[in-house]
């Protein structure tokens, strides 16, 4: 699971924004806004973390139930796959 080359993320306040650059920008025109949790998940994926590692990070940072954290992580990963942001 890897974020395709060409996406650039920048944090603005507690949110993240993502744009596509280079060759990627020819096919991917949108911009993405991430809330704080989404921003954290994006950063973890970018670091190479797997789902259990991301869930652990969220659980510790936000003191939430691991089941809820995993559901959020899987949902965002699903959306990122649908949008062709992730590659294997």
């Amino acid at each position: 699971m890897k974020i395709k080359d060409g996406f650039i993320k920048h944090n603005i306040g507690d949110k993240g924004v993502v744009v596509a650059t280079g060759e990627l920008s020819i096919h991917f025109h949108g911009m993405i806004e991430l809330n704080q949790t989404g921003s954290d998940i994006w950063d973890e994926i970018a670091k190479g973390s797997d789902v259990p590692q991301i869930v652990e990070m969220l659980t510790q940072k936000y003191e939430i139930d691991p089941a809820f954290a995993e559901a959020d992580v899987l949902k965002l990963i699903g959306q990122m796959k649908d949008a062709e942001i992730l590659e294997d």
Partner: protein
């Protein structure tokens, strides 16, 4: 091939153009005997591609000026500047920037300001001004790239406020945090495709968000719409009976 210099947003740009229209288009920004900060040139292939992708470009000479501005915009983040899609007007030595998706009514709203407030309101640029992030604020610069109306005056002023226009039946303007309109604002900024320039633009956007004052104006096309946005953004009282013409 013509080579000429323009003074744009406080920068000197060397323009290389194939068609004579480019120099005529930039006539109010021409300068001489200056060392350029950077140069831009457009190839025939790029003009052809622009023509194919954007039918509104219509002619090769017009497509060339669109391409030239894109090349300029690609370089601006290096100089703490970026192109912003919006209509900028002047009032009382300050710049006010109205933005919205195309067709929402930016031009209508600034026309209402002009009607209600007379010659105290001037145009800076009706479509694509350049914003410069400085130590002590934001400067809005005019450019000749001014949309279909071609409304511009070669002028640079401190930016007092940015206003997002939304159509409504009644009029209400409120100060907002830019975080509540991040995508709306970011979509109005020219985003270079070069990763480094895009990163620079996002960094400038972040500074822009903490430096400028932002408002949302939900409005119709009455004089009350002007009263609403004018009072919120200038802090002055709007008196429609007052003679604002100077």
């Amino acid at each position: 091939m013509a080579v000429f210099l323009i003074r744009l947003a406080g920068l000197t740009v060397e323009m290389h153009s194939t068609y004579p229209y480019a120099k005529e288009f930039c006539k109010d920004f021409l300068t001489e005997n200056a060392v350029p900060d950077f140069s831009v040139a457009v190839s025939e292939e790029e003009v052809a591609k622009e023509l194919a992708q954007s039918p509104e470009s219509a002619t090769s000479d017009y497509a060339e000026i669109i391409c030239l501005y894109r090349k300029i915009a690609d370089r601006l983040p290096e100089y703490n500047r970026f192109v912003f899609h919006g209509a900028a007007i002047s009032y009382n030595e300050n710049g006010y920037l109205f933005t919205a998706p195309s067709g929402t009514g930016k031009t209508t709203h600034i026309t209402l300001w002009r009607k209600a407030l007379g010659s105290q309101v001037g145009i800076i640029n009706g479509d694509k001004p350049i914003l410069e992030l400085c130590e002590d604020g934001v400067i809005v610069h005019s450019t000749p790239w001014a949309g279909k109306e071609g409304w511009y005056r070669n002028l640079s002023l401190p930016l007092k406020a940015v206003c997002i226009i939304e159509q409504a039946t009644t009029n209400k303007t409120e100060k907002i945090l830019p975080q509540s309109a991040l995508m709306c604002l970011l979509r109005q900024i020219y985003m270079p495709t070069d990763p480094q320039a895009a990163q620079g633009t996002l960094s400038l956007f972040e500074r822009f968000c903490v430096t400028a004052d932002f408002y949302r104006c939900r409005c119709n096309i009455s004089v009350d719409a002007v009263k609403s946005s004018f009072e919120a953004m200038t802090g002055e009282r709007f008196d429609e009976r007052k003679e604002y013409e100077d």
